[in-house]
Amino acid sequence: MKIWTSEHVFDHPWETVTTAAMQKYPNPMNPSVVGVDVLDRHIDSSGKLHSHRLLSTEWGIPSIVKSLIGTSRTKTYVQEHSIVDPLKKTMELKSSNISFTNLVSVDERLVYKPHPHEPDKTVLTQEAIISVKGVSLSSYLEGLMANTISSNANKGREALEWVINRLNAEIEEVTASARRNNEEFNGSSSICREMIVK
């Protein structure tokens, strides 16, 4: 069993990071995630939003292998449970694989909170527990997987930054468009006013 932990600070407020985390896929850093579905979503009695999602991933298996075993069987699945508390400003995300659990378990937990000293920043603490079963090289393989998780974690953070930039660009586009419409409207209405006065 191997445990891996890390901490990262995003230079964005908690609301921005949480909104981006809910829309994390698709993004160019995680091309293997090919499908996301919401299995359930509800608000509990303390006002926290629970979401249960299913992620399907495709790992680039050669097409000849796919054609032999049938494409639906090259997908692997991860289940994800997230809890967002808008009052305490925490988002917790727990995920685990549901494919190959007879061989390996990867359980991850991510928590996003506002930075305790800098309110416009967000702290992400991340941990993973990896367990490879029934293999004598298990601790070596677990070490390999921990390295993969670490580099994937970097990709994951880059992915969130990418989503945040995309959302900000969309907001700017909407604002600019509204401004243009407003200017045109003011232009037209001043022409109308001149005509009425004449």
Binding site: M22, D44, Y77
Partner: protein, 85 residues
């Protein structure tokens, strides 16, 4: 992002747009005055239940979600005391 049941992608997209807007503009600001996305979620869920790949573990996961003791299931997002619309 596509749905796992590929035929449900469009329904999912409509639901996602509704949810993402509500989440950022209402929920995170502490305004929880009801779920505007319930109908969209129901339609999307019906599609997934019928068309999602027949994977035993997946099926068990969906089943265990259904049995988790929440009385208000699969009607989008809703508060604890609301009934399914």
């Amino acid at each position: 992002m596509n749905s796992v049941g590929e035929a449900c992608t469009e329904l999912k997209r409509e639901y996602d747009q509704c949810f993402n807007r509500w989440f950022a503009e209402k929920f995170l600001k502490g305004e929880n005055d009801g779920d505007p996305c319930g109908q969209l979620f129901k339609r999307y869920q019906l599609c997934v239940q019928v068309r999602a790949p027949r994977n035993r573990r997946l099926h068990r996961l969906q089943q265990s979600d259904q049995g988790e003791g929440h009385t208000h299931r699969r009607a989008g997002v809703h508060g604890p005391k609301q009934r399914e619309s």
